[in-house]
C-alpha cells in the first residue's frame, strides 16, 4: 500500500489533454479523464434550458511531493485560483501495491479535513434537481458525471444486460456545511427509498479555485 492524494481537477471541456501534457513534465505519469457537466445557477438560463456547461474531470494519483508541484503548476500556469479557470481538490488515498511494505492507518481517517466532497449517485436526469437542493442548503457549485450501475442481467426477448443509467453529483464544500447539504439532499431526494440513490462523502485535504477559498484570499489581502 502506498499513500498519496487523488487529485480531482475540473476544467472546461477540451483542456484536459493540454493539462496532462504539462503534468507529465513534472512527473505525473498516469491520469484518467472523464466527461462531466457543470451546473450554473441562473433562473434565466434555466428557463431556456441551457444551464449546463461541459466540463472534463481529470483524476490524478500523486505522492505528496508531486501533488505539491502539481498544485503550484495549476496556480501558476492555469490560474486556477481565479474565477472560471477550473477547480482542483485532493482526497487522500491508499493505492494497493503488493510490493510496498505493509503500512497502517491512512493519513486521512483521523485528519480534520477542511473540506469534504459529497458524492451523490442518483438516477439519470436527477442531478440538476439535486444540485438545486444542495444550493439551497449552502453549496456553491457541483459537477455532474454520467455513469451507470453494474449491469443487471434481464432477458426480456433478447438477453440484455440492462445498465441502470446514473448521475453522480460531486459537490466540494466546507466541512461545516456538509451535514446541512447532506441532509437536504437525503431528505429532498428521498434517498431513504430503496434504490433511490446513495450519498457518501470523501475528505478533501486541499483545494484550489473554490469560491470559498477566493473569498478567504480576498479577506486576507487588504
Amino acid at each position: 500500500m502506498t499513500t498519496g492524494s487523488a487529485i480531482y481537477i475540473i476544467l472546461d471541456r477540451g483542456k484536459a489533454n493540454g493539462l496532462m501534457q504539462r503534468a507529465r513534465e513534472i512527473g505525473v505519469r498516469q491520469g484518467t479523464i472523464f466527461l462531466g457537466e457543470g451546473t450554473m445557477s441562473s433562473p434565466i438560463l434555466e428557463f431556456f434550458g441551457i444551464n449546463r456547461t461541459q466540463k472534463e474531470v481529470v483524476l490524478v494519483a500523486a505522492p505528496e511531493q508531486t501533488a505539491q508541484q502539481l498544485y503550484q503548476m495549476l496556480r501558476e500556469q492555469f490560474h486556477m485560483h481565479r474565477r472560471y479557470h477550473g477547480i482542483a481538490f485532493s482526497v487522500p488515498y491508499r493505492r494497493y501495491d503488493p510490493q510496498a511494505a505493509e503500512e497502517g492507518e491512512l493519513p486521512g481517517r483521523d485528519l480534520n479535513a477542511p473540506y469534504v466532497c459529497i458524492m451523490t449517485v442518483l438516477e439519470r436526469g436527477l442531478g440538476a434537481e439535486c444540485m438545486k437542493l444542495a444550493r439551497a442548503a449552502g453549496a456553491r457549485g457541483g459537477t455532474i458525471v454520467h455513469a451507470h450501475g453494474a449491469g443487471v442481467p434481464q432477458g426480456v426477448v433478447f438477453p440484455l444486460n440492462i445498465e441502470p443509467q446514473k448521475d453522480i453529483l460531486m459537490i466540494v464544500t466546507r466541512r461545516g456545511q456538509a451535514p446541512a447539504i447532506r441532509r437536504a439532499i437525503y431528505e429532498g431526494m428521498r434517498l431513504e427509498r430503496r434504490g433511490a440513490g446513495i450519498i457518501f462523502a470523501l475528505p478533501v485535504t486541499r483545494t484550489l479555485g473554490l469560491y470559498e477559498e477566493r473569498q478567504q484570499e480576498k479577506a486576507v489581502k487588504p
Binding site: 491520469g31 472534463e56 491508499r94 449517485v121 450501475g149 453494474a150 443487471v152 431513504e192 462523502a201
Partner: protein, 644 residues
C-alpha cells in the same frame, strides 16, 4: 460558458473557413453582383444562429426522445412489438422529410407520372422502417455488424445490376435525402439509447451504425420499385437556373414560411408518436416533458432559420461558383471542388451531432477532431472526383462507387469496431442539407457549363460520392488504428483464492474503493469485488492520459478506461483491493489501479442509503442485513460531529 455560447463557438469555428473560401472565390473568379454577396453574408449569419439553436434543440429534445423510445423498444415483451415499434419509428421519421417529397416530385415529373410522388415517399419510408427494424434486431441479438452491412450492400449490388444508371443515381440521392437534418440526429439518439440499454462490452460500438443501416432502406425501396414496375429510364433536365430576384431580403422572405412549414411537418409525426406513448405508457415527469417541449421548439426554430439561411444565401452562390469556375478555368474545378468538399461538410448539422456523440460515448477517447478530419478528406476527394467525372464523360459513377464500397466492406472486418459503425454512419451524416444545396448547386452549375455533361445524372452522382467516400476514409483510419493499438496479451486466469469470511457486526467505517481498469473489464471487476463482499458499483467511462496512447495523424488516441466506485465496509476494502489487483493484473502492462479512500466518516450525520432500484434487483447492497437502516450505519461518527 453557457451551452448556447459553446454551440455558437463550435458552429463559428466550422463556418468561418467556408465564408473565407467563398468570399475569396467571389472576389477573384466569380465576381457576382453585390446583392448576391450580401445575401450570402446574411445567409451565413442565419446559418450560424439557426444551427446553434438547432443543436441545442437536439440535446434537449431529440436525445431524450431517442432514449425513451430505445427503452420502450428494448424492453418490449415480444419480438413482434419490438419489430413494430422500430418499423414505425423508421417510417415516421422519414415520411415527413421535406427533401424526400421534393425528390418525389422530381421523379414523378421525370418519369412522366408513372411513379407518384406520394407513393415514392411511402415506399422509401417503408424501406427505412424495415431496415431500422432489422438493424434493431441485429443490435439486440448481438450479431456481427460488419457482416450485417456486408449483406445489406451485397443485396444492393445485386439489385443495381438490374437498374439503369439514372435510377442508381436517384436511389443514392433518395438515401441522401432521407438522412436529413432531422432524421439523422434522431436515429443517432435512438441507437445510442438502444446500446445503452443493452449495455455489455459492445455498448460502445453498437452506438453507431444505425444511420448507415437506415440509408440502405431507400435504395432497396427505389431499386425494387424500378424493377417491379419496369420503370427504367428517367429523362429530363434539372430546372433552368436563374438567380433569384427580389433584392437582398427577397429570397429570405420567400423561404422562411416555406421552411417553417416543412420543418414543422417533418417534426410532427415523431412528436405525436412520442406524446402518444408518453400518455399511455412512459408518463415522464412534467419537468422532463417541459424540457423536451422546449427542445422541440428550439429544434423547429433552429432548423427553420438554418434552412432559410442555406437556401437564400448559399444556393445561388454555389451555382455561380460552379458556372464561373467551369467557364473560365475548367482545370481549376477539381481543386475548387476539393476545398469546397473539405470545409463545407463540417457545417453539416449531423456531422456536429455525430462528433458530440462520439466524444460522449467513448468518454473522449476518440476525439471528434480525428473523425471530422477524416470526414473532411473523404468528402473533399469525393467532390474532386465528381468534378473529374463531370469533365470526363467516359468515367462512370460506378467506377468509383463499386470499388469504393467493396474496399470499405472488406476493410470493415479488419477495422476497429467503433470506427466501423461511425464509418457507415458517416455516409448518411455527410450527405445532409449543406451537401444537398451548396455542393449540389456547385456541381450542377459546373455540369451546365461543360458540354456533354448531364445535369441530372452528374449532379445526383455527387451525393452518391459524398455518401461513399467518408465510409471508405473512416474505414481506412479505423484499420490503421486497430493495427496500431496493440491488443492486450491474453493471460491465463489465476486460480481463485478462497474468499475470506466477511467480518461480522455492523459496519462502522466506510471506504470508497475506486478501481481504474481497461474498458470492458468492469463487469468482471464488479463480479470479483462482489465475491470479496462488496456491494453494487457505479461505473463511469473515462480515458487514460498516460503515455501509451496511439497517435494517428498526430492526434493522440487514448486508451479507454472504466472507473468503478464501490462503497464498502472499511474492514474489507483491503481484501477487495488485493483481489482486484491480483485477478485483473492491475499495475502491469495494461495500466489500471485500485485505490481506497476513507469516506462517510467525515462530517456527515445522515448515513449512507443503500438499496436497489425496484424491479432491477440488487443494483447495490450485497449484505443488506448490515447496511440497511439509517441509524445503524455510523452512529458514533454522527455524534462526534455534532459535538464539534
Amino acid at each position: 460558458m453557457s451551452m448556447l455560447r459553446q454551440k455558437f463557438n463550435e458552429v463559428t469555428r466550422s463556418l468561418l473557413p467556408v465564408m473565407a473560401l467563398v468570399l475569396v472565390l467571389a472576389f477573384t473568379v466569380v465576381r457576382p453582383e453585390a446583392e448576391i454577396i450580401w445575401r450570402f453574408l446574411l445567409g451565413s449569419a442565419l446559418l450560424l444562429v439557426g444551427l446553434a439553436i438547432f443543436l441545442l434543440g437536439v440535446d434537449l429534445g431529440m436525445n431524450p426522445i431517442g432514449d425513451y423510445m430505445a427503452v420502450e423498444v428494448a424492453t418490449s415483451k415480444s419480438k413482434f412489438k419490438i419489430g413494430a415499434i422500430a418499423f414505425l419509428l423508421g417510417f415516421l421519421v422519414t415520411v415527413a422529410e421535406p427533401d424526400l417529397l421534393i425528390l418525389g416530385y422530381q421523379v414523378q415529373n421525370a418519369s412522366g407520372g408513372a411513379i407518384g410522388a406520394q407513393m415514392m415517399v411511402y415506399l422509401v419510408s417503408a424501406g427505412v422502417g424495415v431496415l431500422i427494424m432489422f438493424g434493431t434486431f441485429r443490435l439486440l441479438a448481438g450479431r456481427s455488424f460488419p457482416l450485417f452491412m456486408a449483406l445489406a450492400y451485397a443485396g444492393i449490388l445485386v439489385l443495381s445490376l438490374f437498374v439503369s444508371e439514372e435510377f442508381l443515381a436517384i436511389s443514392f440521392d433518395s438515401s441522401g435525402a432521407t438522412t436529413g437534418a432531422l432524421t439523422t440526429p434522431f436515429i443517432l439518439a435512438l441507437s445510442a439509447g438502444l446500446s445503452r440499454v443493452k449495455g455489455g462490452q459492445t455498448a460502445e460500438e453498437d452506438t453507431f451504425g444505425m444511420v448507415g443501416v437506415m440509408s440502405a432502406g431507400p435504395m432497396y425501396a427505389l431499386m425494387l420499385m424500378s424493377i417491379l414496375t419496369g420503370q427504367k429510364h428517367i429523362q429530363g433536365e434539372a430546372a433552368e437556373f436563374a438567380v433569384q430576384q427580389g433584392g437582398v431580403f427577397g429570397p429570405l422572405l420567400h423561404y422562411l414560411p416555406q421552411e417553417f412549414l416543412g420543418s414543422l411537418i417533418a417534426l410532427l409525426p415523431l412528436t405525436a408518436f412520442f406524446f402518444l406513448l408518453n400518455f399511455i405508457h412512459f408518463k415522464a415527469p412534467r419537468r422532463e416533458i417541459a424540457r423536451i417541449v422546449r427542445g422541440l421548439v428550439y429544434t423547429l426554430v433552429g432548423l427553420t432559420i438554418f434552412l432559410t439561411g442555406v437556401y437564400s444565401g448559399f444556393l445561388d452562390m454555389g451555382q455561380l461558383i460552379g458556372r464561373s469556375v467551369a467557364a473560365r478555368h475548367g482545370w481549376l474545378l477539381p481543386v475548387v471542388g476539393f476545398f469546397i468538399g473539405m470545409i463545407v461538410v463540417l457545417v453539416e448539422p449531423a456531422v456536429i451531432v455525430l462528433g458530440q456523440q462520439i466524444e460522449e460515448t467513448t468518454g473522449g477517447r476518440i476525439p471528434a477532431k480525428i473523425i471530422k478530419a477524416t470526414l473532411s478528406i473523404g468528402v473533399a476527394l469525393a467532390v474532386m472526383l465528381s468534378m473529374l467525372r463531370i469533365m470526363i464523360p467516359e468515367v462512370k459513377l460506378w467506377h468509383f462507387l463499386l470499388p469504393g464500397f467493396l474496399t470499405a466492406v472488406i476493410l470493415s472486418f479488419r477495422s476497429d469496431p467503433v470506427f466501423v459503425g461511425i464509418a457507415y454512419d458517416a455516409g448518411g451524416v455527410a450527405s445532409g442539407p449543406m451537401t444537398a444545396t451548396f455542393v449540389l448547386a456547385f456541381a450542377q452549375g459546373a455540369a451546365a457549363m461543360i458540354p456533354g455533361a448531364n445535369v441530372l445524372v452528374d449532379g445526383f452522382g455527387v451525393i452518391a460520392m459524398v455518401a461513399m467516400a467518408p465510409v471508405l476514409s473512416l474505414m481506412i483510419v479505423g484499420a490503421v488504428f486497430r493495427r496500431k493499438s496493440r491488443a492486450l496479451p491474453h493471460k491465463e486466469e489465476k486460480p481463485m483464492p478462497v474468499s475470506q469470511p466477511l467480518p461480522l457486526g455492523r459496519v462502522e467505517l466506510y471506504d470508497c474503493v475506486v478501481a481504474i481498469v481497461n474498458r470492458g473489464l468492469a463487469d468482471r471487476a464488479v463480479a470479483l469485488a462482489r465475491e470479496a463482499g462488496a456491494g453494487g458499483a457505479t461505473i463511469l467511462h473515462g480515458r487514460s492520459a498516460g503515455s501509451h496512447g496511439v497517435r494517428v495523424f498526430n492526434i493522440e488516441i487514448q486508451k479507454e478506461k472504466e472507473i468503478i466506485f464501490w462503497l464498502t465496509d472499511a474492514r474489507i476494502s483491503r481484501a477487495i483491493a488485493s483481489r482486484l489487483h491480483e485477478q485483473l493484473e492491475l499495475g502491469g502492462e495494461g495500466g489500471g489501479a485500485v485505490f481506497t479512500m476513507p469516506s462517510g466518516a467525515q462530517g456527515l450525520d445522515i448515513p449512507v442509503a443503500v438499496g436497489a432500484r425496484p424491479g432491477t434487483a440488487g443494483e447495490t447492497a450485497a449484505h443488506p442485513g448490515e447496511i440497511s437502516t439509517a441509524e445503524e450505519m455510523m452512529p458514533e461518527m454522527g455524534e462526534e460531529e455534532e459535538e464539534k
